[in-house]
């Protein structure tokens, strides 16, 4: 072989596509040809790297953010498909129409008219008052447009403190500084967002949901929701309307607390307080306090579908109430309040200045000053996590931050202390305590206590948390438990429920 070997032939050789004799001839040539040997080495190294490229793992990406953007893009398309097509008239046609209308107006009122693009501005004459003997023209009635409303973000919570919220398709850098008005579309990822738009009016958009503020003014509020929204609405004045559109159903509100959840399988409206009217094309039904209506697609609204909510469901609804700040003033809050970031390891219920705010991590709007943050432990007790000074909104929009330390792991000594408690109860005394109620036929009673035992075995405190015993009997039982001897060991705090 006297000619140089083409590089892709080396690739064929490395891939095993050539027979042995041909490969041997190529190797023989490469021994005497430096150029081909170099070519062989380079192609060989490239072929080796193919395997490494093939096994490259996917890099980590902001998955929740990508999910939220996908969700927003897809739902936006669906929204636009569901809306009736708008008549598209070229700008020139609008201008022509405006000019014609302006001309007609000028002729009718005998006033000069100036057309500015597509708006008509009427020029009033300097002396326009008609004399008394002239027929007075119809006075111009100027109806001012209803005052536009704006909502402010009060809290975001979820997997991350920012809650992966998108406003109009982008993740705003300073979410808390924005005023959200008509036309805004909000989309959530795995978190939720709470917004306030009045003293006692707020709503919270749940995870993986979208909300469009289709109309948002003093006269009419129209929200289009896909997903879950919890609302608290102050009583409307006469002439004011508040509707929530969820697919084919419309919920009309006066003043109430309720939830609308629109899924593909059904739309559910749960009213916690007040009353809402749910209607579709054919009918309307009222859903009152502690009632729910679940509407499958294509099923007409009917009073038969309204069912009462259980206590547990009501309690669950109460936990999702949107957060509100007191003394609502849009300007003051925009310029004077600032977000506070509460970072936790895992989900922890938190309180700020004694007010329960739900599950952190979260960003919450607070007024400038010093704030105390508490976090709940596994037993549900709030413990102080620290305090933080919040200044007025920083220009860079970086929020004040407080980190809640991770909860210490449960001590292994609880099981041992629990065993000591069970073994150390004086059963004879306990029986004497419950004898009187047993004689009365009252059996199957219980008492739940909370104990703290220190390292020396001394009982720090012993409180009866819950019981169905009469007070005297419960006190007697408590004394029996307080006399249980604990040896030295691991300090422990726990709750114990004893069936008597």
């Amino acid at each position: 072989m006297s000619r140089h070997i083409k590089p892709h032939r080396w690739a064929d050789a490395f891939a095993g596509k050539l027979d042995d004799s041909e490969r041997a001839a190529m190797e023989l040539h490469a021994e005497t040809c430096a150029s081909c040997a170099r070519s062989r080495d380079r192609v060989g190294r490239a072929s080796d790297s193919f395997g490494a490229i093939r096994t490259q793992a996917a890099p980590e990406l902001p998955w929740d953010s990508v999910r939220a953007r996908v969700h927003w893009s897809v739902s936006k398309e669906k929204r636009s498909q569901s809306q009736p097509p708008r008549l598209r008239v070229p700008v020139l046609a609008w201008a022509a129409l405006a000019a014609m209308a302006a001309g007609a107006l000028g002729v009718a009122t005998n006033r000069p008219v100036v057309v500015v693009e597509d708006a008509v501005v009427e020029m009033r004459p300097p002396v326009a008052r008609p004399s008394s003997h002239q027929t007075s023209p119809r006075p111009d009635v100027i109806v001012p447009p209803p005052a536009a409303l704006a909502a402010l973000v009060v809290r975001t919570a979820g997997a991350t403190s920012s809650g992966d919220v998108m406003i109009d398709g982008v993740r705003p850098t300073n979410l808390f500084a924005r005023r959200l008005g008509a036309g805004t579309v909000i989309a959530t990822g795995e978190g939720r967002i709470d917004l306030q738009f009045g003293d006692a009016s707020a709503f919270a958009l749940g995870p993986s949901s979208t909300l469009e503020l289709r109309r948002f003014d003093a006269q009419m509020i129209e929200l289009v929701v896909n997903g879950t929204i919890d609302l608290e609405v102050a009583p409307r004045l006469a002439g004011q309307r508040f509707v929530v559109v969820a697919g084919e159903h419309t919920v009309e509100v006066r003043g109430t607390r309720f939830r609308v959840s629109r899924e593909s399988a059904a739309t559910t409206i749960e009213c916690r307080h007040g009353m809402v009217a749910v209607r579709d094309r054919s009918a309307q039904v009222d859903v009152g306090t502690a009632r729910r209506v679940k509407l499958a697609p294509g099923v007409a609204v009917s009073a038969d579908l309204v069912v009462p909510l259980s206590v547990a469901e009501l309690a669950s609804l109460a936990e999702t109430d949107p957060v509100r700040v007191p003394l609502w003033n849009l300007d003051t809050l925009t310029t004077g309040s600032a977000p506070l970031e509460i970072a936790t390891v895992g989900r922890r219920d938190v309180r700020v200045d004694g007010i329960e705010l739900g599950s952190a991590p979260m960003l919450v709007r607070v007024m400038p000053g010093r704030h105390t943050v508490e976090a709940a432990d596994s037993a549900g007790r709030f413990r102080r996590a620290g305090w933080v000074d919040v200044a007025a909104p920083a220009p860079d929009g970086k929020p004040a931050r407080v980190e809640v330390p991770a909860e210490p792991p449960k001590t292994a000594g609880i099981a041992e202390r629990r065993r000591q408690l069970r073994a150390g109860i004086d059963q004879a005394r306990l029986s004497r305590c419950t004898r009187s109620i047993a004689k009365a036929g009252l059996t199957g009673t219980y008492v739940e206590v909370e104990l703290v035992v220190d390292a020396s075995g001394a009982v720090g405190f012993l409180n009866v948390i819950d019981t169905d015993l009469p007070a005297a009997t419960a006190s007697c039982v408590r004394e029996v438990l307080a006399d249980v001897p604990f040896g030295a060991g691991v300090p422990a705090t726990w709750r114990e429920k004893l069936d008597l």
Partner: protein, 221 residues
């Protein structure tokens, strides 16, 4: 009907045909949970495919988003001619192709190839790699992507799918929406150009043989 590409395009994406049909049906019914499942099941394989094809992670999240949006939009028209993972891989290829074309028009920032050597799945490495070997491997990969960058987008995709992913002509033809004969021709010229670049790299060009060129062209046609 294509049963799926030979190589697993995403180990997490393995779904039985029945599960796949169920997931598609639920997605078509606009069930949010199904959309989430779809996303979580395929996100890593899609990101991995795009990353390997392009060789850098610039705007990778945007491209992943684009793939999912196209997929959700196109699920209504998905006929099931191929496995769902293959169909998604096809979307990845097309999105990557679009990206390559855009990048050709708009030169990328410095450091196009940033395939991170640390991104290799540790389970695939028997023992810790020596730093000099890791650097060498990183440089080899960078050289491969540099050579790929110089190819025309269509040639690049075909070459990548054949040489690196190890797909055959029929599978590549499905993924790039072409026919196998065209793919074969495109691959022939792509390989010749690519390996010539690899062999020559920045050194002196490798001498060519006109006769061989002619023979190869005849063979390719």
């Amino acid at each position: 009907m294509l049963g799926g590409v030979k190589r697993d395009t995403g180990s997490l994406a393995a779904l039985g045909p029945a599960d796949e049909a169920d997931l598609i049906a639920r997605c078509r019914a606009d069930e949010r949970g199904a959309h989430d499942e779809f996303y979580h099941r395929f996100r890593r394989s899609i990101a991995g495919n795009l990353y390997r094809v392009l060789g850098d992670r610039t705007d990778l999240d945007d491209l992943v988003q684009e793939v999912f949006v196209i997929a959700f939009r196109g699920l209504e028209k998905f006929r099931g001619d191929a496995r769902l993972s293959t169909w998604l891989y096809r979307i990845c290829v097309n999105v990557a192709l679009g990206r390559i074309r855009t990048r050709k028009r708009r030169p990328p920032p410095i450091g196009v190839t940033d395939l991170d050597s640390a991104a290799v799945d540790p389970s695939l490495v028997d023992r810790p790699e020596q730093p000099d070997r890791a650097l060498e491997r990183h440089q080899d990969q960078a050289r491969v992507y540099r050579a790929l960058e110089t190819l025309a987008p269509k040639k690049r995709i075909v070459l990548y799918l054949h040489e690196i992913e190890g797909l055959d002509l029929k599978e590549i033809a499905y993924l790039v929406d072409s026919n196998p004969v065209t793919v074969r021709t495109r691959l022939f010229y792509a390989r010749r150009e690519f390996y010539r670049l690899i062999a020559g790299d920045d050194a002196a060009p490798v001498p060519t043989d006109d006769k061989d060129d002619k023979d190869d062209k005849d063979g390719a046609s």
